[in-house]
Amino acid sequence: MSQETPAIRVSALHKNFKQTQALDGVSLEVEQGAFFGLLGPNGAGKTTLISILAGLTRASSGTASIMGHDVVRDYRQARRALGVVPQELVYDPFFNVRETLRIQSGFFGLKHNDDWIDEIMHHLDLTPHTDKNTQSLSGGMKRRLLVAQALVHKPPVIVLDEPTAGVDVDLRRSLWAFISRLNREGHTILLTTHYLEEAEALCGRIAMLKAGRVVALDETKNLLKLTNEHCAQFRLDAKSIPAKWQNRVVQGVDGTWGFNFSEYADLESLLADLRGAAVRVLEMRLQEPDLEDVFTDIMKRT
């Protein structure tokens, strides 16, 4: 099925707002069924890219399509195939939870959608709040309602723009459980987040944006191989260390010593020299390279 239509295809996308260039030639494809992460610092163009996919923003040049439907030319099919959970915690204060979901279904031309609405509410723990006005919901519940609204029309492609910003641990867990389930059932997921450990755990493939350009695009496991910066942290029973290592081993404000290395042989020779200088290691912790290191690295290099 390598010839399958990609869930999302973006090619040579440019977007200029008055003074700034939000997107500077972004091209990427997300295949059907993928769990795709879009990472980048604030202002990198993530939300602009999502807005173009959703039809909320119009590209200055370039094209974008959802399940093969151009987001401008075939906007009806494209929007029917897409569910967007916006970044801002927005709600319509005139309606209760069920009304909100019924109306949202109606916008997609779905009249008798209550079975599916009940199911989404159940999975998102919204059922006890069915008749509550959206205004009286807590922040977490409003977030869940936004997810529910994005799903009323069973879109094959779901975009989540920083869904866990300012969300408590419980909701984050249940949200990811639900989203992962949707992914297993075949939905394509596009996620932006600032929590890199989430992206590392969930996303099979990741694109990194910086200043409107794609600076990295690969499978998560390949990206993780890009860096071999390990980090060791020590507590030592000495005030100083052998002069030879003073450039590489740095003492933090809390008194621990940090050592970044790429080959374990380096660590071995450090330990040998410490023993030689009669410095005792009281505690040692090793940190494997993670996506955050790769991310920081790529952002610095590009």
Partner: protein, 251 residues
């Protein structure tokens, strides 16, 4: 249910949920105008021979209420959802700009008509109205609500802050409706202001609507229908062009 009818239903539900503010309040306001002005002027003013001042005033008040509320419905709904950010719920689904326009317009027209019927129902007790021309009445009521509903969409899309919309409402809509012959006949005005009034489309709406009730008017109701119809087409066309371009909604 198509997207259009869902959006129309949502807009109806929205104003119906705050019916005290959107329907009852304007009816009470119109009643107060009627009580005050008819008390002060009933015995002093006779605009058309054989028509009491109160009978003259009632159609004007009904029309003024319809105009203001039709405008208010679409404009305040749009500015609120823009400020709240909930406008995305309408922008994300596969709704065309035409469906968007028709749904907001339809709800505004209905709100205008409901308020108009309410004002008529409470003011009828004070003045015997023969209502000889039901066709004219409906035509003018629909056109008036249509013009203001479309103008409300235009203003709601254009305004970026409540402040800007309030300016639109207070410096354009309110003077237009007050100075268009609700409380007086333009024949009582100096010649200069009479000719100014003839350039004001709202004047024709009030004049024609009043004709439907009392059978007398300042101008020919057919002329008024032509002017109002042209006005509705023009405002709708501008609004639709802006909506199609994504003006201030899809940046």
């Amino acid at each position: 249910m198509s997207g259009l009818s869902a959006l129309f239903y949502k807009e109806l539900l929205r104003f119906w949920k705050v019916v005290v503010q959107t329907v009852v309040a304007p009816v009470v306001t119109a009643l107060l105008y009627l009580l005050i002005f008819s008390h002060v002027l009933e015995s002093h003013v006779e605009v058309y021979p054989g028509v009491s001042y109160t009978s003259f005033l009632v159609p004007g008040l009904v029309m003024m209420s319809m105009l203001q509320n039709a405008f208010s419905n679409s404009s305040s709904s749009l500015i609120q959802s823009k400020m709240m950010g909930s406008i995305v719920f309408v922008l994300l689904p596969p709704l065309s700009y035409l469906e968007f326009f028709l749904a907001y317009l339809g709800a505004s027209v209905l709100r205008g008509l409901v308020v108009g019927a309410g004002v008529l129902a409470v003011t009828l007790w004070f003045a015997p109205l023969s209502m000889p021309h039901l066709g004219w009445l409906l035509a003018y009521a629909l056109l008036a609500c249509g013009i203001m509903g479309a103008l409300g969409i235009l203003a709601g899309v254009w305004a970026e802050k409540f402040d800007q919309l309030a300016a639109f409402q207070n410096f354009l809509i309110l003077p237009l409706t007050f100075l268009s012959g609700v409380f007086y006949s333009i024949h009582s005005l100096p010649a200069f202001w009479q000719s100014v009034s003839h350039a004001n489309p709202v004047f024709y709406l009030i004049d024609g609507f009043r004709y439907a009730f009392v059978g007398q008017s300042d101008t020919d109701p057919w002329l008024g229908l032509l002017v109002s119809g042209a006005c509705f087409v023009a405002i709708s066309a501008i609004t639709l062009l802006l909506l199609r371009s994504g003006y201030k909604l899809r940046h």
